[in-house]
Amino acid sequence: MPEDTSAQPRSFWSGSIAFGLVSVPVSLFVAQRSSHVSLRMVDEDGTPLRRRYFCNADDRPLDRDEIVRGFEVEKDRFVVVADEELEALAPEKSREIDLRRFVERSQIDPVYFERAYFLAPDRGAVKAYRLLARSMEEAGRAGIATFVMRGKEYLVAIIAERGVLRAETLRFSDELRSPEDVGLPGLEQAKAERVRAVEQSMRDLAAERLDRDALRDLQARRLRELAERKLASGADVVAATEVAEGGEGEEEAEVIDLMQVLKRSLEAAPEAAGRRRRPRRGPRRAPARAAGDAELEQQSKSELYERAKALDIEGRGSMNKAQLIAAIRRAS
């Protein structure tokens, strides 16, 4: 997205995964935080400052609705583009992650991967989510699709691991330069004994496991240590109560506890346990209905579909359950 400071940050993307005709509504959550140390800009007294925009003509800060986005088509000539116009460019279909292709995970060159998100099933979608995750993991394949999120189109690989689905955005091939694009010279033939010497040095440094500690952000740690030392001494500390709301820390709101969301969608999804085909304990029948209706209603859509097929009902492929029941009743 452009430097979109005018739009309200949305906590996450919600949409749905289409797997054939199965639709799995999901929400996306960041699996990687941009940084775990946040520095804020303050004035000399420690008052947190806020970024505001000013027009050169008058000297007051502009409100959000006074700011628009423009693309510079030539020097000092801008085409103004409204948020709604950009949103309208995203076709409805691209708000859905339509898995039309499943590729072997090992076929995706790792340099394509850009950013990972966890997918959580929305209300009512837990069973379909689990089914998709399990079958993809067993097949060793990733689903490939494109979709639009926050004003940008993404190529995405849906990867299942340990029963959890991840959406990993991929770079488009025109975003990756080839060695020729960069202008690297053709590779020369290396001298064999030189290659052997370098190879031996590599083997001497061989290790089998990645030490997570090697990936610690030491720079951030030093910063944190400095802050903690100062905090302990009480120097230059501004207590939380004095901090004004709002300001620069908006991005923080986007890191959401995935477990909480999962829990929420599970609590809100009793039907995932099989409301449709397994009758609840004790008979629960609508009294005013004809017996034939009740019998039909207890059948699954596929059973109804099979019956509609046996009755040669036209247009059965595109009917929902209620329509199938009505058509079967009419035909039989």
């Binding site: 997205m1 583009v81 409805e92 292709r101 069973k127 189109e153 440094l205």
Partner: protein, 259 residues
């Protein structure tokens, strides 16, 4: 057109030294907008203000503050921050060589090509060939523009590539995420789902995918630059499939027809 090198350094491990130039392997193709004042379409300028008084605080009078977990602020002086800055260095130090895929791609942040710098001589080609022969990825550390990096040294299209990695603190470990629980899945449904995946199996051809949205944004700008208009639309929220088996069966049928 050849790209410009963004940094020069020396790859070093044991007694191996290879002078290299770094090139960005990723090209930003995003359509960038400027923020304008709605009234006169003049670009706005940003400034930091005191939110209580709306008074602008000039840059020289701003300070950086560390936000603690309790949301307290610790103001850090410029000299304190400067003392924390890493020493400037031109070294890309390779610490170890790991089997492929030990560094999971989720760590990958940004790839850079390494090209030969003056004086590399045969060392550059030897590095490339040795990487291919050993079949391992180097784990490297370097400091570029006052920022410390950890990266993976590997080959891409036969050329040495350095991929900056995310820091451990930025990654949510996979084992912290639990899969949504539920009853045993129906073998019949699993079988149908597997068959549907098999029917949709394909090879990965990245060049087949295009950023159509970006193309539409560019077209919109062009239309508007000529004075045209484009109508707006709204989206509907998605709904879960009512009947999983029915949808799977219908999908299989549909794919069979396509085949």
């Amino acid at each position: 057109m050849a790209a410009r090198a963004m940094w020069k350094a020396v790859v070093r491990f044991a007694d191996v030294q290879v002078p290299v130039k770094l090139y960005a392997a990723v090209q930003d193709r995003t359509v960038h907008f400027r923020l304008l004042h709605a009234k006169d379409h003049a670009p706005v300028r940003q400034a930091m203000v005191n939110p209580e008084t709306d008074e602008v605080v000039p840059y020289e009078r701003t300070r950086r503050a560390f936000v603690t977990d309790d949301k307290d602020l610790v103001v850090l002086r410029d000299d304190e921050l400067a003392a924390l800055e890493p020493e400037t260095s031109r070294e890309i130090r390779v610490l170890q060589f790991l089997p492929p895929q030990v560094i999971d791609h989720r760590w990958y942040l940004r790839p850079y090509y390494l090209g030969p710098d003056d004086g590399a001589g045969g060392a550059y080609a030897a590095l490339a060939e040795a990487l291919a022969r050993v079949g391992r990825e180097g784990l490297a550390r370097w400091t570029m523009r006052k920022k410390e990096y950890v990266g993976a040294l590997r080959l891409h299209a036969g050329y040495p590539m350095l991929v900056a990695l995310r820091h451990a603190e930025e990654m949510v470990p996979l084992d912290e995420i639990e899969a949504p629980p539920g009853p045993e899945l129906d073998p019949r449904e699993l079988d149908m789902a597997r068959r549907l995946i098999d029917m949709l199996a394909a090879d990965f051809h990245p060049e087949e995918y295009h950023d159509e949205y970006r193309a539409r944004v560019e077209a919109l700008i062009e239309t508007k630059a000529r004075g045209g208009r484009v109508p707006a639309r709204r989206a509907k929220p998605p709904r879960p499939s009512e009947d999983l088996v029915g949808a799977l069966e219908a999908s299989l049928k549909q794919e069979r027809k396509r085949a």
